[in-house]
């Protein structure tokens, strides 16, 4: 079961973006990271069932959800730090 011979006719495995999905789960407090992990697992299971197109689609979804989650988190972080961080540092600087 686990050690099936590799069939030469199989298309190449699509990237499952697992590391990206976990990074987006850890860095973003949004369920988007979890969605990315779900698609990441789907890439593997669809591929092993022979649904190569579905695996390819899941791969794209895993990448998109992961990148969008990280993008939103980074953007939110920058806006937050720009507002509150600079105010805080300004207060420090003026001897508060």
């Amino acid at each position: 079961m686990e050690n099936q011979p590799i069939n030469q006719d199989q298309p190449t495995k699509p990237n499952n973006y697992l590391a990206l999905a976990i990074i987006s789960t850890i860095l973003c407090c949004l369920p988007a990271g979890i969605v990315s992990i779900v698609y990441s697992t789907k890439v593997n299971s669809e591929y092993f069932q022979g649904n190569y197109e579905a695996a390819e689609r899941a791969s794209k979804n895993a990448k998109t959800w992961g990148l969008v989650a990280i993008g939103i988190a980074v953007l939110g972080w920058i806006v937050y730090v720009a507002f509150f961080g600079l105010a805080f540092l300004g207060a420090l600087g003026s001897g508060y």
């Binding site: 697992l18 590391a19 789960t25 860095l27 990271g33 697992t41 972080w77 961080g85």
Partner: protein, 149 residues
């Protein structure tokens, strides 16, 4: 400088200005700039970093809670202390290490090793572990309270 090295550096430049690599470089610079703040400021003592919006809305920890404090402690050199804030960072570290070793073995040393991360059982387990981690770290009873940030 020989002509061939001139040509190589030109090719490197060509690669560097491709949109994909430009974006990767830009992302790297942003991450370094963001990370440098965590070298100097403790997220549990300063108010400059955002709090988790999921925790703020629901009062529950999300799978990412504690990662800012964890990053701060890890950057201070206290890796074990940092990971205690969010054990998923250890999982991420292991996966990145595995990817690195796998890349070196298969692409550089031309071995033909199966990538475990592409086995459905492994990714399914990771998904279940992450969801269990999310639930259990919200249980305020002893062995599970260790998972809380």
């Amino acid at each position: 400088m020989s002509p061939s090295s001139d040509w190589r550096s030109w090719e490197l430049w060509e690669v560097a200005i491709k949109p994909k690599y430009f974006l990767i470089t830009l992302a790297g610079i942003i991450i370094l700039a963001m990370g440098s703040l965590y070298v100097f400021f403790d997220p549990s003592e300063t108010a400059i970093f955002p709090k988790c919006p999921f925790f703020w809305l629901t009062g529950l920890y999300c799978p990412g809670c504690g990662s800012q404090r964890a990053i701060f402690h890890i950057l201070q050199g206290d890796i074990i202390g940092g990971i205690q804030y969010n054990i998923l960072l250890a999982l991420l570290g292991l996966i990145l290490l595995y990817q690195l070793i796998y890349y070196v073995l298969n692409n550089r040393l031309k071995r033909q090793i199966r990538n475990w991360l592409y086995m459905p059982m492994v990714t399914n387990t990771i998904l279940i572990v992450v969801i269990l981690f999310w639930i259990l770290r919200n249980v305020p009873v002893y062995p599970f309270s260790l998972l809380a940030p």
